[in-house]
Every structure is written in C-alpha cells, then in structure tokens.
C-alpha cells in the first residue's frame, strides 16, 4: 500500500515510502526526523506546521505527502545558511519573539514568505499575514516587532 515518493528537503534529496494518506507534516517529522515542524491542530488553524513548498509558505498538515512528490521543500531546519541564522531567526531572538517556542518555526516560515513579497510591511500587514499562525504565549506584540526589525535588517 505504501508508495515511494521523491522529495527535496532543505536541498537534500530523499526517497520515502509513505502511506497515501500520510500528511506531509507527519512524514517530515516521523520519517525524515525534521521535528522542527510542529503539529498543533487538526483543522489547519494553528500554522505550527508551516513550511515552504516550492517557495511558498504552506501548512504541511494540509498537504498529503504524495502530493508533494518532486517538490522543493524548506523547513525551519533549512533556513539558516552556512551556520548563519536567517535574519528572521535573529530578529525573533533579539526581540523576544518567542516564549515556549512551539509556534516559532511555523511563525518564522510564514514571516519569511511575507518578507519575500513585501520588504517593509506595516504592523497591520504583519498582523494580517500571520493570522494563520497562532501563538498562545507572546500576545504577538514581540513577534510583530521581530518581523518588522527583520524587514529592515
């Protein structure tokens, strides 16, 4: 019943045997051991599972792994390049944009998508862009500050 699919994740090619019903989020976590992608809900609300699928922020719990066949995927583990943190990672650290850190990988991946299309977003645009990412700890204020500061970095 399992099917073999090819994925490129963080620049590394993988061939994985997956059940047709397996969600991409589960395959990343359980099969590829990329546990930085989190699962916080079962209705595609929380955004903890956000990754980049062919360059766009995507909730990996809404995608079947088989649908991602041949896709280029970036997860939070692939964001830092050559040991240097991504500006958003630095900004979240700098501005105290996280507390428990469970929402953080998804939040950063969503924010990266925003900044790719809008280099200097307003507070309102930021708040709108991360609407699909829930954080229960921070009250969002320092997340907004972090994204803003990354934009100007």
């Amino acid at each position: 019943m399992k099917r073999s699919i090819a994925l490129s994740v963080n620049g590394v090619s993988h061939s994985v045997e997956v059940e047709p019903r397996a969600l991409l989020a589960q395959v990343l976590r359980d099969d590829l051991n990329l546990t930085g992608t989190h699962i916080g809900c079962d209705t595609s609300q929380c955004g903890a599972c956000t990754i980049h699928l062919n360059g766009r922020a995507t909730k990996s719990c809404t995608v079947l792994a088989v649908q991602a066949e041949g896709a280029e995927i970036t997860t939070i583990e692939g964001l830092a390049k050559n040991g240097a943190l991504h500006p958003l990672q630095n900004a979240f650290w700098e501005k105290h944009g996280l507390q428990c850190g469970f929402c953080t990988p998804g939040m950063i991946m969503s924010a990266a998508d925003l900044l790719a299309s809008n280099g200097s977003p307003s507070d309102e645009q930021i708040r709108h862009a991360i609407e699909g990412n829930l954080c229960r700890c921070t009250g969002y204020q320092n997340i907004v500050a972090a994204i803003k500061s990354a934009a100007s970095a």
């Binding site: 079962d42 609300q45 929402c103 609407e131 009250g139």
Partner: protein, 784 residues
C-alpha cells in the same frame, strides 16, 4: 563586571527553538517505538453495557487493546491531590479507563497500542462499545438543583464541596449599608490551548524495573509522585523527563489517565509506547478553566467607601476532580475577596459541582482572575450607583502603602506595595481626564467610547509549605536547587521547577553568573529531568522565580561561602580580611593577593590543599521555603470604541502598570505581561467553550474556539513600578499570571462604560459582537 540582574539579555533557550532543534515530547524516538490511541466516549453520560475489542485486536499492526477490566487493580484511580479541608469535599473514584459508566465526552474506555500512529487510530474505530445513554447535566448551577442527572453514586446532588470564607461581619455591613449593588455573573468555561498538545512516551526496563516517562509536564516531580501512586511503582524506579514544553497555562499540571496508561502499557508489553493527543482530543480531555456562575454583591457608603462583599459561587469541576481542581475556586479564589482594597467585611460560599463535562482545573491565574473580575465589576457598578468616577472609588479604597504589610479580612497578609502609585501612573499614561472629556464630546456625536480600570492584586509565589499542608495541598511548596562547579570553573545548576516558556534558563543563569562573577556562558541551567534535578513542585502559580529563583540564589551563596573559606586558607589570610571584587576574593588593602573564582573551583575540585575539615568539591544544594506568598499588583486601563450598529468592540489603547518587584530580565518580564494580557483580552472578548445541553462540546476544534489571532489583538503599553518583596532574597514577585488577572475586568469595564448612556450595567463575557449587539438592542427596547 557589570551585573546581569536587571539586564534584558537575549534568551538562552532561543537558539534551539528558532532553528527547530528543540526537543518536545512528541519528537522523542526510541527503538521499537509503538503508538497508543484512546477509545473515548462519544456520550456525555452513559452506562457501558459491553465493550467488544475482538475486531480491533485482529486489526493490522495492533499489539494490544487494553480496557478497564485489564487494568483493574493495576492502574489508578486517577488521583486528586488538593484535598481542601472543611468543605465536605467528595472525591469519587476516577477510573483511568471507564468500565461501568462514562461521565463526559472524551472519557476513555480503551487504549489501543499498535505499530504506527495510523494503525492505532484505525483500530479505535473497530472497538465496539455498547452504550446506554443517560441524561446529562453541564451547567454548574443547574447541576446541583434537585431532579438533575446524577454523576456519581457517592456524590448526592452532584455537590463536590461547599466551601465558606468569611472575615469581619458581612451580613451586618450589608444590613447597615446605604448602597448595595449586585450582579449575576457567568465566568465562561475556557480552553487553555497550549500550542503543544499533550504527549507521553514511556519505556520500561523489565530487568531493572526502571520506568522512564517523557511527558508534557509543568511539574515532573509531581508526575513522578502521581505515577508512583497510580501504578504502585516505587518512586525511585521512575524517571520523569519533561523536555521542551510548548506552553501549559495550567493544563500540564495535572496527572492524566493518558500518561499513566502509556506507562502501564510500556511495562506490560515490554515495548516503548508513545501517545500524543490531537487538538480535538486536547479540547475534549485536557483540563478546561473557569466555569463559574456567580451571585455577587457589594455594599458601601454613599460617598465611596466600600464596606462589604458577599458571593455565592457555583463552580463547575467537570466529571471528576482533576489534580488541583478543588483548590482553584476556593483557596486561590475566595481568600482574595478583598482584592486590592481595604474591604473589611467579606463572606463567600463556593459550591463545587460535578457535571458531564471535561474536568476543570487551573488555567492561567486559577481562581484569582475570577475573584478580580467579580470585584472589579462590582466596584464599577457601585461607582456608577453613587455617581462617582470608578477610578476615584478605587483610589479611595485601595490599601495605602503605609499600611503594608496589610492583613485583609480573609486573614492573609499582603507583603508590600504602593497600589496608589500604580493607579496614578496608569491614569496619567492614558490621560484619564482627557479621555473622559473626549468621551463626553464623542457621545454627543453618537459615538460610544469607553474607559475601563482594573486595580488588582494577586496571591502567587506559592507558597509556604506549612500553609500547603493546612489547605490540603498534597505536596510541599518549597523549591530547591543544586549548584555544581566543575574543575574548570564551569557551572551547572539543577532546578526543581520546569519552566516552559517563561525564560528561567536565562534569568536563573543571570542570578548565578552574578553571584560568581563569571560570564553567563559559563553557566548552564538544567530543568525537567527528575534523574538529575532535586525535588521541586513545579512551574505554576507564578512561583518559579519567586521560590525557585530564591532557592538557586541561596545555593549559589553557599557555594561562594565555601569558596571564600578556601580562598582564605590558600591566601593564608583571615576570612574576615577578604573582600569579593570583580570575580575574585582579595585581601583588603592588597588586591594583588587574590584568588579568582575559577582558581578556587579548580582547587576545591582537586582538593590538594583543603583547610582542615573541609570536604572536597564545590557544590551546594539549597531548599527555599518562603514565609509568605507574594502579591504582585497593578492597574490596567483600556479605552474602547463600541460600534452601536454591529456590537463590535475595538480596543483603542491598553495601558498597564504592573509591580512584580525588581526585574531580573526586563525583556522577559514584559513578554510575560504581553502574553498574559492578550490571554485576558481573549477571555474578555472572544473565548468561550460551549456545551450543548446533552454534553457535546460545540467548540471542539480551533475552528470554533476563538484563540486570539494577531490581527484581532491590540498593542499593549506595558509599564511598571518596582516594589521589592521582603519574602525572598531576590525581592521578586511573580508576573506570569498578573496580565491575565488584570486585563479581563479592565476590558469589560471599558465596554460597559461605553454603553452606560444606554443604561447597560453588565454584559457577560466574552463580549462578542453578537452579545454586545443583543445587549444594545435590549437596552434600546427597554428605553423605548
């Protein structure tokens, strides 16, 4: 070296969390790991006629199907550990797996263990349970009325307890009072919604009898203790590891059937087992918060002196008493009935009710937000009744700074504070007077603006252990720490609490680095593993820094005292002649004669030349048991705009002035305020867990339960005053819950203030557009 105390340095937790390198419980992988899934009742109340597991047991990948019969005498019941005295508390058994009867939607009846998550989940559907549905009761007030469905044979009328609190003579105060106001308040049920669902992984070594349990826990030592009691396994054979924890807000304090069952399965099957709830499961089985129906009243003089407060509270406990549940609406609630004021006469009755709903336990603030809310709502009603500005009524009744420490009517003593200073500062920051003028003008233009004030104080930093014993808390409330200095001068400190977002890996390292004059990089804080950390009681009740931080400070001081003795010996000097300067002990007046901390660490650890009678090594442990709770306080003020057409509330400004003593790391303190306030704004404006009359949770997913989103929430203007507490050596008070406690009434007061011209005196939270709109329509209709 500059001191780190007071410096908003970046957090040391973050590098792993921002790169996806944290380790949460569901990330744990073990060889031969199996997966568990629970079969749960779809009925709120039903007798179980038969459980047929045959088909599930045959399903592909299934290793075991475990029912209540299989675990009889081996697991459980699930314990309640807060046995509040003098209230006739009834604790009916809470079976880990129900055998005869289910009492809420989500009550577990069987557990599947299989080779994959999917196989376990599939097999859940194959377990055939024959239920006989019974009438259900879901409302804490209705549940104790005659003729209502009965949950437990041992609990007539579903009354879990009747608890009384009194101070002064409230009845007389009311009899003599010129002014009385009363309200019926519903404090709705909430879903804590830690972003990380609960999870447990267990592995058991049959030969050694050693159980290792990874669990999403705010208090791994309590979980070790509860696991020992529930499974009858010796406590020293249990290791509980609480790795990175993705928020808790109270919901990861309790011992749940799930963790115990996972541990049991690992022990009996000889395989490691993992269970992780999904969000819908989290909403139906992980504890909920609040759930009060309240009848409350306040009395006072015609010129603004509050003289009395009386309450009758119906508090829902859900189907069973969760670990700390009985203490939340009683001790943590009723003792705070004077609030931040000198109210001399208080009297309250709290009736705990079992209902066919998910168990209710601590949720951010736990009892204190409910107390603050009812007091602050009443203060506004009273002010309105006597025609006095609510801020002025507060100023008139706040406990004056020169009366501190102050013993309130219920008998507890507030440690310190200048409540008026916080109120004045908040009023100035928001330009209270100016806003009142603008509000007046706007009203003339048909524009409804409101301003809401909330002055709170709360009891936290739990707390003296002696008091814990008196109030029936099944544990101590001290904290402990071990500080271990390595030969190279590097330090590891082991703590008994389990921070899960509050940043103590950073703030605690600041304390230790300051004490030893070493760079913070040389200090590592270890938490969450009962194998290495000393006995602690956990992270809740805003106690981690006030109690655990104090234990750590004391352990570090002990280490330093020993280092000083060693330095005196090595320098052939008198200890009294040594002074600590820039990371060294040096001889007063001849600074060249000195021993740096690193050198002393080496000399102590190699022990080549110790003073007579001194043990080798450089480490110390300390237990800190505070003499009192701590009482952070403050004033929050919000301004709102209410759209009369739609009932929509827009928060214009949110100003808070909090006092939690000195800040070890101001950035982290402010972050706690932000998160706490937004959780309170969510409670005030949009969050509500709804049950249908037959006990179905109607808000069972994130589609229906309105967790605040970034786009919905205001920006907070967070300010502080700084009054140290005499209760601990750091002078610090808790700040984890204060934001939630202060914010809920502040928002509701602002909305009611906006609508005052319509004659509206109260609207039950959450103030959704629908509710506000309905209140407006009703008021308009009434006025006509």
């Amino acid at each position: 070296m500059a001191t780190l105390f007071g410096s908003g340095i970046k957090r040391r937790e973050d590098p792993r969390l921002i790169t996806g390198s944290g380790t949460f419980t569901d990330d744990i992988k073990l060889p031969g790991l199996t997966f568990a899934a629970m079969v749960r009742s779809p009925y709120a109340h039903a007798t179980i006629r038969k459980i047929d597991t045959a088909a599930a047991a045959q399903a592909p990948g299934v290793i075991a199907v475990i029912t209540g019969k299989d675990i009889a005498g081996k697991v459980g019941p699930v314990p309640c550990a807060f046995n509040v005295p003098n209230c006739d508390l009834k604790l009916p058994p809470h079976p880990a797996l129900a055998t005869n009867k289910v009492r809420y939607v989500g009550d577990a009846v069987a557990m599947i263990v299989a080779t994959s998550r999917a196989a376990a989940r599939d097999a859940v559907d194959l377990v055939d349970v024959d239920y006989d549905p019974l009438p259900a009761t879901v409302d804490p007030e209705k549940a104790v009325q005659p003729g209502t469905a009965q949950l437990h044979d041992e609990v007539p009328g579903n009354v879990a307890f009747t608890w009384h609190v009194a101070g002064g003579d409230a009845d007389q105060a009311f009899a003599q009072a010129a002014v009385k106001v009363s309200l019926r308040i519903v404090q709705q049920r909430l879903l804590p919604t830690a972003m990380e669902p609960r999870s447990a992984v267990a592995s058991y070594n049959k030969a050694t009898g050693q159980l290792t349990l990874w669990a999403t826990s705010q208090n791994p030592h309590i979980h070790r203790f509860l696991t020992s009691v529930t499974l009858g396994l010796p406590e020293h054979k249990i290791r509980v590891i609480s790795p990175d924890v993705g928020g808790g807000f109270g919901s990861k304090i309790p011992g749940y059937a799930d963790e115990f069952l996972v541990a049991y399965a690992a022990m009996t099957l000889g395989r490691s087992v993992k269970w992780t709830e999904d969000r819908s499961e989290n909403y139906t089985v992980t504890t909920h918060g609040r759930d009060h129906v309240e009848y409350v009243e306040m009395c006072g003089t015609g010129d603004g002196t509050i003289t009395g407060l009386r309450t009758k509270i119906h508090a829902g406990l859900g189907a069973y008493a969760s670990t700390a549940a009985p203490g939340v609406p009683t001790i943590l609630h009723g003792l705070m009935y004077s609030g931040a004021y000198t109210i001399p006469n208080v009297k309250g009755t709290v009736i705990g009710a079992y209902t066919n709903t998910t168990p209710v336990d601590a949720y951010r603030g736990a009892g204190r937000p409910e107390a603050t809310y009812l007091i602050e709502r009443l203060v506004d009603c009273y002010a309105r009744r006597i025609g006095m500005d609510p801020a002025l009524v507060r100023r008139k009744n706040l406990i004056p700074a020169d009366k501190m420490p102050y013993t309130v009517a219920t008998g507890i003593t507030y440690d310190s504070g200048d409540y008026h200073a916080a109120l004045d500062k908040a009023m100035e920051l928001i330009d209270y007077r100016g806003f009142r003028e603008r509000q007046e003008k706007a009203r003339k233009d048909g524009h409804y603006l409101g301003i809401g004030v909330s002055s709170y104080t709360e009891i936290c930093g739990l707390g003296p252990s002696q008091v814990a014993g008196q109030i029936g808390f099944g544990g101590g409330l001290y904290e402990s720490a071990i500080v271990r200095v390595y030969p190279t001068g590097m330090v590891r400190a082991y703590i008994g609490t389990r921070p899960h977002g509050q940043g103590e890996e950073t703030t605690f390292a600041q304390i230790v680095a300051d004490e030893f004059g070493v760079p913070i990089e040389n200090v590592e804080i270890v938490a969450g593993d009962t194998e290495s950390t000393p006995q602690g009681w956990g992270t809740y009740g805003s106690r981690t820094t006030a109690v655990g931080g104090a234990a750590l400070k004391n352990a570090a001081v002990k280490v330093k005292e020993k280092a000083k003795k060693l330095a005196a010996h090595l320098l052939e000097a008198n200890e009294a002649d040594l002074e600590w300067h820039d990371g060294k002990f040096q001889v007063k007046g001849s600074p060249a004669q000195a021993k740096a901390f690193g050198e002393l660490a080496l000399m102590a650890n190699v022990a080549w030349n110790m003073p007579a009678g001194m043990e080798p090594g450089l480490e110390a442990s300390a237990f800190f048991d505070p003499t009192n709770f701590v009482f952070p306080y403050g004033t929050h003020i919000a301004t709102v705009d209410v759209d009369l057409e739609t009932g929509e509330v827009t928060v214009l400004r949110y100003v808070c002035v909090d006092d939690c003593g000195p800040h070890i790391n101001p950035m982290i303190v402010e972050g706690q305020v932000h998160g706490g306030v937004i959780q309170g704004v969510g409670e005030a404006l949009q969050e509500i867990a709804v049950y249908s009359d037959d006990g179905q949770l109607m808000t069972g997913t994130m589609m229906d339960y309105a967790v605040p989103k970034a786009s919905q929430m205001p920006t907070i203007e967070s300010h502080f005053t700084y009054t140290p507490t005499p209760v601990n050596p750091l002078g610090v008070k808790g700040i984890g819950e204060a934001g939630t406690i202060g914010s809920v009434p502040c928002i509701v007061n602002a909305v009611v203030d906006a609508l005052a011209p319509l004659g509206i005196t109260h609207i039950d939270k959450p103030l959704t557009p629908a509710r506000v709109w309905a209140a407006i329509q009703q008021a308009k209709g009434g006025a006509r």
